[in-house]
């Protein structure tokens, strides 16, 4: 039975987790903020070394076993047919559906801006293309 008038002193043994929580939260916030700068994002390409491939593809594109996309300024050409972006998307989906090798060969013109080439690559990848091969005329000549 407790005696009246005498206060009871109880020691509470608990670890103080507040500093730990502070430090951990700070670490998480700093990592979250710096993460976008640490990782890179991009589209991997195969630059094929074939001296005359560009010319061969231009002349004989329909016989190529892989889907070959010629990129001109504002226009995309597949098998001699000029396409718009939406048409390229549906055609890629059709061609990639039954294909064993989903590599697409890209032949951009020299004066086409890189932004446009990447837009085409993006559409191809969205619609099932797995590998993107850029025909590299200069690499082959060297």
């Amino acid at each position: 039975m407790r005696r009246k008038g005498k206060p009871t002193v109880r020691t509470i043994a608990e670890a103080n987790v507040t500093p730990l929580a502070d430090v951990v939260t700070t670490l998480i916030v700093v990592f979250l903020m710096t993460m976008p700068a640490l990782v890179w994002s991009g589209i991997q390409v195969n630059a094929t070394r074939a001296a005359k491939s560009r010319e061969v593809v231009r002349k004989d594109r329909s016989t190529a076993d892989k889907m070959t996309v010629l990129i001109h300024k504002g226009v995309i050409e597949v098998d001699g047919e000029s396409l718009r972006m939406a048409e390229l998307a549906s055609m890629t989906r059709e061609r990639m559906a039954g294909a064993d090798d989903r590599t697409v060969i890209l032949v951009p013109d020299d004066d086409v801006p890189l932004g446009w080439v990447v837009t085409v690559m993006d559409v191809l990848k969205q619609n099932g293309a797995e590998g993107l091969a850029l025909l590299n005329r200069i690499g082959g000549e060297a």
Binding site: T18, A47, V112, L114
Partner: protein, 136 residues
């Protein structure tokens, strides 16, 4: 009998703020070599289907006005092959990431891709920015 003297001292507890500041400083010191602080400004092309990796890379920057840098060190076009090749001497399996401005003509980009290939890069990627909103 005298009453006990109680003095209240008002002091700010600075220990937590020192903890947090030290953690921030240490983290930034560790991370800073990996952060990009290149002076060359590049507007990357946008894409939705990007591959994201945090593995070791060799970063080659190509600006719209024809300036180049390899791993944040500015180089002239003539010195580019040697500068890129140096990066692959000790780590031949690294990925080469070409950060080229979206307004550059593909012909010029192709020339740089050829240089990177000749320097011995096994894999090349074109750096992109994540497109916000729907793509066509």
């Amino acid at each position: 009998m005298r009453a006990r003297d109680y003095r209240i001292e008002v002091k700010t507890d600075v220990v937590p703020i020192i903890n947090v500041s030290l953690v921030i400083v240490l983290t930034l010191m560790i991370i800073s070599p990996f952060l990009n602080n290149s002076d060359l400004e590049v507007k990357l092309p946008e894409a939705t289907t990007t591959e994201t990796e945090d593995q070791d890379k060799v970063e080659i920057v190509m600006t719209a006005d024809g300036r180049f840098s390899v791993q944040e060190e500015e180089v002239a076009f003539d010195a580019l092959p040697a500068a890129v090749a140096d990066q692959f001497v000790n780590a031949p399996s690294r990925m080469a990431v070409l950060k080229a401005d979206k307004s550059i003509a593909y012909g010029d980009v192709e020339r740089v891709i050829a240089v990177i290939q000749k320097a011995g890069a096994p894999r090349i990627a074109l750096a992109t920015e994540q497109k916000t909103g729907g793509g066509g």
